[in-house]
């Protein structure tokens, strides 16, 4: 794994919708590198045939019955919104249609 470049950090920031300053780019590039270096060690661990773990107790088929529950009152829904209109959340113009 090559070390992480300033351009790469900029690309990641775009993916994560983070506007970062030039100073932050430099700082992150350096700091991420240190962290990533230490993570290289993980690649050395032999995990051939090992199943992944994500939870303390493996739970299966945790499903809910299809019974309606009350939704929030609309006032409460919209109360948190930075900008609302016509019962909806208003957002600035969107650049392009996505999937």
């Amino acid at each position: 794994m090559s070390t992480i470049s300033r351009e790469e950090v900029a690309h990641l920031a775009r993916l994560a919708r983070l506007e970062v300053t030039d100073d932050e780019l430099d700082a992150f590039a350096g700091q991420l590198d240190v962290i990533l270096e230490s993570m290289k060690t993980l690649g050395e661990v032999d995990t051939e045939g090992v199943q992944p773990t994500s939870h303390a107790v493996p739970l299966v088929n945790v499903l809910r019955e299809d019974q309606p529950q009350p939704s929030l009152p609309r006032d409460a829904v919209l109360a948190g919104g930075p900008d609302t209109a016509e019962g909806r959340f208003r957002v600035p113009r969107i650049l392009d249609e996505e999937a």
């Binding site: 993916l15 970062v20 962290i35 661990v45 303390a56 107790v57 829904v77 948190g80």
Partner: protein, 500 residues
């Protein structure tokens, strides 16, 4: 123990209220007054709800007067880490991006605290989105360690730990993703427990790392923590990852531990924690070792165990947690709630979202979002996240093998005492080392508690007890036994705080 209400343990306070020797109202008022007196110095709270807390207290008093049967902690005030959602009370995760947000719903834990009739004093400070080990990454204020106000209170739950250490609350709720209950507990001389993952609901706990986050109790001793543990724990149909099984009997275990008998109990010491750069600083080792000697005197048998995969715990954690966080924190986009920045009527949504997140998130959060985005991005997910999940299995196997040889594992909670403000913020890796001994438990999912064991350079040191999955009771039993060897609770020996 002193004469003041605020010096009493939660168990004593609850009993006094139940028996009519004091009122919930006066107890709550005493803690609120204490907050007024010293929180200007400690800065543990982000929000104090005097009115709400007193109203609940008054209800408790009325209920007692009416002869109603109440829960074991009714009337005992509590502080809640500001990463747990509270209806109609501001909840910020100590982030600017949620400044002013008033949740329209309660976390399951909040509901359970309310159902237990515990007055909620307010919300405590933390590292933004619980990412940090010093509470220095709060967007709002720097919480001081009550033992030395020039030092950090640990993190991310520094606010809850400092509030209990400074006697502004007898109990608090914390959350532990990599040590955020236990490490602050250790450095403030308080008791902190991370329950088994899945035994406590995360519904309404603002997510940092979903597969690791665990809410739990912060208290002054094991019994108080156990009482709170039983109030908040148990299966929740709203959290698909909770375990539908009885909560381990931790109160009973704390009581039996307090008798001071550990004969027949085997405690494992992890060899890898003591080796090379993983070793704790000498003062911490000394205090911890004194604790181990006490445990032996109580009849415990010490065995050395080897957990070779623990060496990889830190890098494993720093792949899993940021990966999940980068996704969990995507929802803060200035559309439905929280901050919106840069909306000048000309910019596109994409630009406004990016500016909002730039303005709303602090440096540590951004760093982890970028790290997680990298770890999940095209071509890396198997190499990083996937590999980390497999190493987790190896760590789990190490724990399971160890618990074949002993009943619980012990270690120092953290390698060093509370450091001075600013000492480790320049180098993220130095900060991450604070969680070296606590992280394996999160990856495994089992329970871990930190119990005060002594002092180093005048600052508290904690001893960690780690148990098998759903074996929370053994951790309480060992911790309570250790407490029984101490003449006074460590928390009671803290220097008096100068009010500001």
């Amino acid at each position: 123990m002193g004469e003041r209400t605020i010096d009493q343990t939660a168990a004593h306070i609850a009993e006094a209220i139940r028996e009519g020797r004091t009122s919930a109202y006066s107890v709550t008022e005493a803690f609120l007054d204490r907050i007024d007196a010293v929180d200007g110095t400690v800065k543990a709270f982000l929000h104090v709800d005097r009115e709400g807390a007193l109203a609940t207290a008054a209800e408790v008093d009325a209920a007692i007067a009416a002869g109603e049967e109440l829960g074991p902690l009714a009337g005992v005030p509590i502080a809640i880490k500001d990463v747990v959602v509270t209806k109609d009370m501001p909840t910020t995760a100590a982030s600017k991006i949620l400044e002013g947000w008033i949740p329209p719903y309660d976390a399951t834990i909040t509901e359970r605290v309310k159902a237990a009739k515990m007055p909620i004093l307010g919300k405590t400070n933390l590292d933004e989105f619980a990412m940090g080990s010093s509470t220095e990454y709060s967007a709002y204020r720097q919480t001081a360690n009550p033992w030395d106000t020039g030092r950090i209170p640990g993190g991310s739950g520094g606010g809850s730990a400092a509030a209990v250490a400074a006697k502004m609350a007898p109990l608090a709720i914390g959350t532990d993703t990599g040590g955020s209950i236990r490490q602050p507990g250790a450095v403030t001389g308080t008791f902190g427990a991370k329950p088994t993952y899945g035994s406590n609901s995360r519904y309404g706990l603002i997510a940092f790392s979903s597969s690791l986050d665990t809410p739990g109790p912060v208290a002054r001793n094991a019994l108080d923590a156990a009482l709170l543990h039983e109030v908040i724990s148990g299966h929740d149909p709203r959290d698909s990852t909770t375990i539908d099984a009885p909560v381990p009997p931790v109160v009973e275990a704390a009581r039996s531990g307090a008798s001071g008998d550990l004969s027949g109990v085997k405690l494992g010491v992890v060899k890898e924690f003591a080796e090379g750069s993983a070793a704790a600083e000498p003062g911490v080792v000394e205090a911890y070792q004194a604790g181990v000697d006490q445990l032996v005197k109580l009849g415990a048998q010490i065995v050395e165990v080897s957990c070779p995969s623990f060496t990889y715990a830190l890098p494993t954690y720093y792949l899993i947690a940021p990966s999940e966080a980068s996704s969990n924190l995507a929802r803060y986009d200035g559309v439905r709630y929280g901050l919106r920045a840069g909306d000048d009527g000309k910019r596109s949504l994409e630009e406004v979202m990016s500016l909002t997140r730039e303005a709303g998130f602090g440096p540590e959060v951004k760093r982890r979002i970028i790290l997680g985005t990298y770890a999940l991005s095209a071509g890396y997910v198997d190499q990083f996240y996937g590999q980390a999940q497999k190493v987790r299995t190896l760590i789990k196997r190490d724990f399971e093998a160890a618990f074949g040889e002993c009943d619980a594992l012990i270690s120092p909670t953290t390698p060093f005492i509370a450091f001075k403000f600013g000492e480790r913020t320049g180098d993220p890796y130095q900060m991450y080392l604070a969680d070296l001994y606590t992280i394996p438990t999160n990856l495994y999912g089992g329970p871990g508690v930190s119990v005060p064991v002594g002092l180093s350079e005048g600052m508290p040191v904690g001893l960690q007890v780690m148990g098998p999955v759903m074996g929370d009771d053994i951790t309480y039993r060992v911790a309570a036994a250790l407490e029984s060897t101490q003449e006074t609770l460590l928390a009671d020996t803290a220097p008096e705080i100068e009010g500001k």
